[in-house]
Subunit: 210 residues, 2 copies
DNA sequence: TTCCCATTGTAACTTTTGTTACTGAAGAAA
DNA sequence: TTTCTTCAGTAACAAAAGTTACAATGGGAA
């Protein structure tokens, strides 16, 4: 576990803090598709992402959902931070995008470290910063882009996260992430294929040039 | 100035911190409509809002803009926090919604206080929390609501901020805030009027029952 | 093999939103 | 007063996105 932490967080944390993390942290391994957090959950520990990726969703009252952003190794969930500190319910859903390893750190430690470690403070602050920027990016997409451009962005993001030009997903799944309908996704994907930007297969999309 | 700070922040900060703020802080008074921050600006001090309100905008490359949220007394600009700490350019525009009084605190102090005052740490963290929640709310609006519902929400928000049922704004100004066109706003406002929810006048909208 | 079901393709249509163009009214300026 | 500019109302149309319905296909299950 020490090795794991060092690999992803050593440039961020002091040795002494890394040691503390490895003492109180608990490793958690999840498979792609597993649900980590549901809306309304109370959270008592904070995840540090070691390997894999997690996708974060927002949902309205009627069950409509929207993908907000992905978490990657070295990230933590800013939403969880705020939930933990404020004793609030989770406002988001978290689902593993890939097989993922996490270190779970109890909330009490977070508070304590905020006072003792400058590196921890900086980490927490920069996590918030990163997350705000991701949220801005999400807002840009839904406010300023048409669905075809959002779809292209989505495919590029998925490629970067999965490190593969082949995106394994059905049109229906993509539609859920973008909060649109399957027919719209099929239509736009077909258009992208006819433009030579992608190649369509059952259950997958191959990126040619996006 | 001490009085000002105490009124709005005393429940948040220790006496010693309030004293420090009043020593290094600079009062700034702006009029409604004044621009406080432009996209691309480098920020060297952090605003604490005493009275009034500030609106925060996002803009894409083509000059299209979108109102993100309002800041109210007791708030600070989370975006500025992240900009200051990271030495980054501002990603947003800030414009006074009303006549507004601010205390500007130099960045260096921020860092220093993070280590010394627990109340300051909590304030900064809860500011981030509040802002993330506001951003989620904004995302909900643009992702899940139709324009007529967004317009109603906008009018309600403006009423709450201005503490008046009469919203002074042209249809064009409303259209800019919601990132749509003037014609669309006129159309939807007319519909709301015919439903008896609002009353339309030149340069203003009066809320009857929203 | 045959059957079944999930997935995809596509047409036809509706709704929502955006655009263009023109009108008249309000109110400030000359 | 007359003139001019801003603001609002509205029609007609275009574009984007959502909906419904149905056909075709691929790949596993029986």
């Amino acid at each position: 576990m020490l090795t794991n932490i060092k690999e992803n967080f050593s440039h961020l944390f002091e040795d002494k803090l890394i040691e503390e993390i490895s003492q109180v942290g608990v490793i958690k391994e999840v498979k792609g598709g597993d649900k980590l957090i549901e809306i309304g959950d109370y959270l008592r520990s904070m995840p540090l992402l070691i390997t894999g990726a997690i996708k974060i969703f927002r949902e309205d009252g009627e069950g409509d959902e929207l993908l907000l952003y992905f978490l990657e190794p070295g990230d933590t969930c800013a939403m969880t931070l705020t939930c933990c500190l404020g004793q609030k319910k989770s406002e988001i859903r978290a689902i593993a995008e890939l097989d993922t390893n996490l270190i779970m750190v109890p909330v009490q430690k977070m508070e304590e470290w905020m006072g003792r470690y400058k590196s921890w403070r900086n980490f927490v602050l920069s996590s918030y910063h990163t997350r705000l920027m991701e949220m801005l990016d999400t807002i840009d997409s839904i406010a300023f882009l048409n669905m075809d451009e959002r779809l292209m962005k989505y495919l590029r993001d998925k490629r970067n996260i999965g490190k593969s030009d082949v995106i394994v997903a059905t049109h229906q799944e993509i539609a859920y992430d973008l909060h649109t309908s399957r027919v719209v996704v099929s239509r736009l994907l077909k258009k992208l294929e006819s433009m030579g930007k992608i190649e369509l297969n059952r259950n997958s999309v191959k990126i040619i040039a996006l």
